[in-house]
């Protein structure tokens, strides 16, 4: 789950992480009032979408730039008016762009030095870790590759948590000394509290800036949260903005399905995440391109199968469907009934190849064969992949 920049600022404020003052606005008038409250000159108006590259983006109405430096409330109102309700296209949004429904008005700061600071979960050690670098504002993967000596790492004890001496070590490595050192320790500690208490899996502050007037502040942040913890993070879960997500993925999650859209034309519907990935792989291996990852889980119901078909068919690129179910405990006859019902309900006209294996498989195959529908049965994974690739190739 991702959150907006203004929501990140709200979390910063809640946990006492130093950051320039900012106020979110949903209308041009609100933007003007926000600018008046913060007080200019030296403000920024920033379009709130999840994608990066906002500054260099272009709105579909022709207005250029999703980030503008301004000096007055009147300007704030004018610029916000040109952004709100408009669609911003950046190199990360794709051609469709993203609708801007909120803007952030914030104090702009004069930066003396940019650093990088992140807390993340490190699976190799099963611990949280801090990664920091003096090379702020840059792509950290590139820094890690070209100048690994400029990156410092500090692992956090699973039960003790982040210690003050670790904060001082990092501050020193970032050359934050004198009065900056204590500011940095305070900021790192606050950020760790935010990270732990909100069940984050990543908080990336880039840049962690030192301003010309000697303040250490978190300027921009990227957050990831542990999905498994959202049940106990109601405030975080409430920050979810489903308009920023793939509508098919949103619909899938409502039915307990796990769907991820891809670029190919062969849709697949599989039980189990590992087998779902393997099914995508075998489609590719036999010359096809998978249109999605779709895991219906261990106990797929008739309703879930029907919902899955609708989601799959909502993708105009799809030219055929491969259903791969290793029944195991599930009764293949019930799954077969679900597939038949879903095909009829959606008026399916695309090629459909079904591979069923497991419990009561003969009864399941019989239901498919006698359904009167053009369903191709497959024996095994390879046969299934070859049949759907051939069927889509001919279409």
């Amino acid at each position: 789950m991702n959150i907006h920049e203004y929501q990140a600022k709200q979390l910063f404020d809640k946990f006492g992480v130093a950051t320039p003052k900012g106020i979110v606005a949903a209308t041009a008038a609100e933007a003007g009032a926000a600018a008046r409250e913060i007080g200019g000159p030296g403000l920024v108006v920033k379009a709130q979408i999840h994608a990066g590259g906002r500054g260099k983006g272009t709105f579909k109405n022709g207005f250029k730039g999703g980030v503008h430096v301004i000096d007055s409330a009147e300007q704030a109102q004018e610029i916000a008016g040109k952004m709100l309700g408009q669609t911003l296209v950046t190199h990360q949004t794709g051609a469709d762009g993203k609708l801007v429904s909120k803007v952030l008005i914030a104090k702009s700061v004069d930066i003396a030095k940019e650093n990088y600071f992140a807390i993340l979960f490190d699976r190799a050690t099963s611990r949280h870790a801090i990664i920091a670098s003096t090379e702020g504002g840059m792509n950290i993967e590139e820094v890690a590759e070209k100048t690994p000596e400029k990156i410092v790492k500090e692992f956090i004890h699973p039960t003790l948590g982040l210690q003050a001496y670790q904060c001082r070590k990092i501050a020193a490595a970032l050359n934050l000394r004198g009065p900056l050192l204590n500011q940095a320790v305070k900021l790192f500690t606050a950020l760790w509290n935010l990270y732990l208490k909100s069940d984050c899996s990543l908080v990336e502050v880039n840049p962690l800036a030192v301003t010309k007037d000697g303040q250490v502040v978190a300027l921009d942040a990227k957050f990831n949260f542990d999905d498994n913890s959202l049940y106990r993070q109601k405030d975080v879960a409430a920050m979810r903005d489903i308009t920023e997500e793939d509508p098919r993925e949103v619909a899938a999650s409502e039915y307990g399905l796990n769907y991820i859209g891809l670029d190919g034309n062969i849709a697949c519907l599989v039980n189990g995440a590992g087998l779902a990935m393997a099914t995508m792989d075998i489609i590719k291996l036999h010359g096809g391109e998978p249109a999605n990852f779709l895991d219906v889980g261990g106990g797929a119901s008739k309703e879930q199968v029907a919902a899955a078909f609708k989601i799959i068919l909502g993708d105009a690129k799809v030219k055929g469907i491969l259903v791969n179910i290793f029944g195991g405990i599930m009764d293949c006859a019930i799954i077969a009934e679900g597939i038949v019902a879903a095909s009829k309900e959606t008026g399916l006209s695309l090629p459909l190849v079904v591979r069923l294996e497991g419990n009561n498989v003969e009864a399941g195959k019989k239901i498919l064969a006698t359904s009167g529908l053009a369903i191709t049965s497959a024996d095994g994974l390879t046969d299934a992949a070859k049949k759907i690739v051939a069927a889509v190739g001919k279409a």
Binding site: P158, S201, S229, N258, I260, A273, M277, N359
Partner: protein
């Protein structure tokens, strides 16, 4: 022998009165597993009945273990209470805790893992299909089934199977069984980023197990557990290994169902893992349909 559990191992089920737990407790009883106790706090003294078999229910794991001699627990407790359930097994001194539960918060598992680092209790999972040591009866009846795997697809034999994924394990097992080759033990280690037992731990056990003659290792994108296991196997494993890595077509940065299945760095991709694993002398199946065939090619030549 087999690893972790054999057909005489006595197991208990935490969460036996829940929907999920009771369904799979029944399936284990039907498979002939020595399921001797259930644990549901507040329901101690009640009895779980299935097909004429009566299983006593206890309030605590410690009581269940003491009264019935159970040494292994299958955990079907919902995510908010699962970390506590795992620690209860550790406290009771069980040999093995198998956590089936999907969706345990990462921060809970970080603490559990730290607390259990010198434990005599081995943790398998969470978010795993469990462990099966097949029996010698019809359709492998009489085996030890802990978790959610279909018992009947197995056959007692000489291949050890270790995997992160449930249905992909069943796929491999079925490929072996239909070709006439049985399994010593099948271990699903789970799809979460923090788990109790990894590929390497299981490879070491298979290597030491006299019954296991060959191994299938199934992995996926994300993390370096498969690579770490392969590097160890290169110099230390005496037995032939075939591997499959799922997720060759997965886009970077997207979580593919399993919390752990996400491409983070360059070594997380399926292509990188396959390359390194092959360099370590493991036979890599390009297709998930060829897991058993790939093993047979190097094992039975």
């Amino acid at each position: 022998m087999a690893i972790l559990v054999d057909t005489s191992t006595r197991i208990l089920v935490q969460g036996i009165t829940g929907d999920f737990g009771s369904r799979h407790a029944k399936a284990s009883i039907d498979y002939g597993t020595q399921l001797v106790a259930g644990v549901t706090p507040g329901k101690g003294g009640q009895v779980f009945e299935h097909n004429g078999k009566k299983v006593p229910i206890f309030d605590t794991v410690a009581e269940a273990a003491k009264e019935t001699g159970a040494t292994v627990s299958a955990i079907f407790v919902p995510p908010p209470f699962a970390a506590d359930a795992i620690l209860e097994c550790h406290d009771a001194g069980l040999a093995l805790a198998v956590a089936i539960t999907e969706g345990i918060p990462v921060n809970d598992m970080i603490k559990v893992k730290a607390a259990m680092c010198h434990s005599k209790t081995r943790l398998i999972g969470p978010n795993c299909p469990g462990v099966v040591t097949p029996g010698t009866g019809d359709k492998s009846h009489g085996g030890c089934r802990i978790g959610i795997a279909p018992g009947y697809i197995h056959k007692r034999g000489k291949v050890g199977v270790v995997s992160r994924s449930g249905t992909l394990t069943y796929e491999a097992v079925w490929q072996l069984t239909t070709r006439g080759y049985g399994q010593s033990t099948c271990v699903g280690i789970g799809g979460d980023p923090v788990n109790g037992t990894n590929h390497l731990d299981v490879l070491k056990m298979f290597n030491e197990d006299p019954e296991t003659e060959a191994i299938i290792m199934i992995g996926e994108i994300g993390g370096n557990a498969e690579v770490e296991a392969a590097r160890w196997a290169k110099d230390n494993c005496k037995k032939p290994i075939a591997a499959f890595i799922a997720g060759a077509t997965a886009p970077p940065g997207r979580r593919m169902g399993h919390a752990g299945a996400i491409i983070g760095g360059a070594e997380d991709t399926a292509a990188a893992k396959k390359r390194i694993i092959a360099e370590c002398g493991i036979a890599v199946a390009e297709s998930p349909a060829d897991m058993a065939e790939t093993l047979l090619t190097i094992w039975k030549k």
